[in-house]
Point group: C2
Chain length 416, copies 2
């Protein structure tokens, strides 16, 4: 019942100097995992011959599958392709399909096709070329001693495209493995310790092939049940039964039994209930609106947001009274109330949410940094809430965004 | 002249199933790097005893400093603390300062203090406790065979806080090293190959202790010069001279000589020139506004954004004519022109930027997916531009956001 073991190697000096955040590893791990392939380790190394060869040797000693990303670009610091060619004892040959594609990309972009771009179309003759519709660097599939080594470009959407089109279907065929299935429970309003304490006895009763993980986020804790078994259908039923049992115990704090972000949970609810929402955002600066519009079909329920970073705009577009601002301050229950009511009118929506606060220090301001007022309303009622976040500007914005969406969820579900 | 070599180990099953993106490694790498500490490798392993011990043994064989994050929480899947205690041959003792702090956090949050939370305040007696003001899990500093091992919680802002307050100052004292300095050049509008070709001869002429890296982003390429030398002051002058020489060669495509994101470049320009900007966002759904407000002090130049996800809102708040939408379609040069002019009026700003497009497929729509119209204007003139992005919804939004900010930059700098 053992799974295929994989390792991910990401290549690039930029990863070791912290220039870029590695999103590729998480993407690859998630997709391998869904196919029943375990990722044992993820390793990041620099653009150095020795470091790459060492990592490859080390990971191949443990894993049956190694996925490499990065190091395939046209500039001098990208050395992976010739190195892999040598490692697997091949010689570089021109791939005509890739060459035509690369030339086509350059002409569409009105860019001169340079000598060094020719190299982009060369691949080792000992690999299977993985065509890259989204960019110039092709992926490569090598096999050696019954192990598979895949090399992909580091640009995230190019990597994802080749993985989906070329790599995942080939892996499915190449490796057999047990079914691995997940079930999630999203909870809100209680901390990780509280939830864990509440489930302690049930967790201990889980059979060996089902595991529970706690994944805390801003104001929320996600529970993830992972099961492995030969029979996918039976496993699914079993997992579902456990999910229901856990959810039953947690009842009042359960937000969703689907593993989707809060913006998606809100979108499903609003779509199903044929309701619309509008926002008035001051301190979050459009971030809640950005989250809500990440969902395909958001135009069915999201009317818009008035990002009002100036007092004048709050007055002009939301009808907040200048007097209210002067009397109570721009970060106050009174102002956020008027903002929400103004947004409901201006954006002609069934629900409106408003937020105003200080994310970072403001000179001469009496209200302490991190104070955030929120309001949510429909035509009949309004609820307000104040938060005091203690982090830096960026993190305060993230927290305000999460807590804001959670407040909307509570309001529309009659829990506020 | 060799630097201190470090490794970063991140612990957590959630990293291997792709549940979370590892931002900690990049943060740590960047800060170590600035202190002249080279990161050789970054490794992610699961919540497994063997995997953690193996990783620790492997990395300690190469590195003088190992930074570990994650695996310190109160739930059953967090096993790092007892493991490190055993690894370094200590015994667990209660840290009274930490205990008082943890109890205080629970009472402030009105949460019951549970048995398992007591353990949060225990530390091995062979480490120096690194106090965690931001959360319940303290960091730990171990020394063994002249090497340093630091263990930190995995929550990003807790990790960052302990690093800044406790770890970085101690490292400075503990290790001596060469100065390592960086200089950057941000370019826009040409690809990585083009830039590399243009600089080829100059790159070849760089002295051995200065390196050039190309870091491509959406529509932009960042050049990063990295130098190492004993004398920081001399190195700085030398790097600056090279930066000027490279920038001189690239002249027309240079956006900034500072390594800051486009929203920050725009913010500095607008602050310096005492100008304001307002937005009308349809397809980007508030994301450009969110970016502009990431900068502390954005309220000095950013008036707001009207996120108009419905035709009615475009008409009502921006004065777009219904006739224009009906005649030309909502994704058209005509509509984006009226949106920009409307935003300039409604938000009373010196500049306005507007955007409308299809990020993903819309049933019955004639205009192809990925078509995005943008406009930027002041009271005297307006410029429009159409883009055709070929990615998925999420990536099209990222590209539109980057290209939109770049278009604003070009307009205000008279390059459009």
């Amino acid at each position: 019942m053992s799974n295929i073991a994989a390792a991910i190697i990401t290549i690039g000096d930029e990863l070791l100097i912290g220039q870029v955040i590695d999103t590729n590893s998480a993407w690859i791990a998630r997709h391998l995992n869904e196919q029943g392939i375990d990722v044992l380790r993820r390793v990041a190394v620099g653009d150095s011959r020795d470091a790459i060869v060492n990592a490859l040797n080390e990971e191949l000693a443990q894993a049956s599958l190694v996925i490499i990303t990065g190091g395939l670009g046209p500039t001098a610091d990208d050395i992976t392709k010739p190195l892999l060619n040598e490692y697997f004892g091949g010689k570089m040959v021109m791939d005509k399909r890739v060459l035509a594609h690369v030339k086509n990309i350059f002409s569409r972009r009105n860019r001169p096709f340079l000598e060094r771009n020719m190299k982009q179309a060369e691949v080792p003759d000992v690999c299977t070329t993985l065509f890259n519709e989204m960019g110039t660097a092709p992926g490569m599939w090598f096999e050696k001693d019954d192990k598979v080594i895949v090399s992909l470009p580091g640009v995230p959407f190019e990597m994802a495209h080749i993985m989906e089109r070329e790599v995942l279907p080939r892996l499915e065929k190449r490796f057999f493995s047990d079914a691995i299935l997940h079930r999630s429970i999203i909870t809100a309003g209680e901390g990780e310790s509280f939830v864990a304490e509440k489930l302690q006895d049930m967790e201990a009763a889980l059979p060996a092939h089902i595991k529970l993980a706690y994944l805390p986020g801003a104001g929320m804790v996600k529970l993830r049940l992972t099961g492995r078994a030969a029979d996918a259908q039976m496993l699914d039923k079993e997992l579902q039964a456990w999910q229901m049992e856990f959810a039953g115990r947690l009842e009042s704090i359960v937000v969703s039994l689907e593993d989707i972000p809060m913006e998606h949970i809100l979108g499903k609810w609003l779509t199903k209930n044929h309701k619309t929402i509008g926002l008035a955002e001051s301190c979050t600066g459009g971030n809640i609106s950005h989250h809500l519009t990440q969902i395909n079909g958001a135009s069915n329920y999201f009317n818009g947001s008035i990002v009002c970073y100036q007092e004048e705009i709050k007055v002009k577009l939301l009808g907040v009274k200048l007097e209210t601002i002067n009397n109570f301050g721009v970060v106050s229950e009174e102002v956020v109330t008027e903002m929400a009511k103004g947004a409901l009118m201006a954006l002609e929506s069934d629900y409106a949410f408003a937020i105003t606060g200080w994310l970072s220090a403001v000179e001469g301001e009496q209200v302490p940094v991190g104070t955030i007022w929120m309001a949510v309303c429909d035509k009949d009622k309004i609820r307000t809430k104040v938060f005091h976040f203690i982090y830096n500007r960026e993190m305060n914005k993230v927290m305000a965004t999460s807590m804001g969406m959670l407040m909307i969820w509570k309001f529309i579900n009659g829990k506020l």
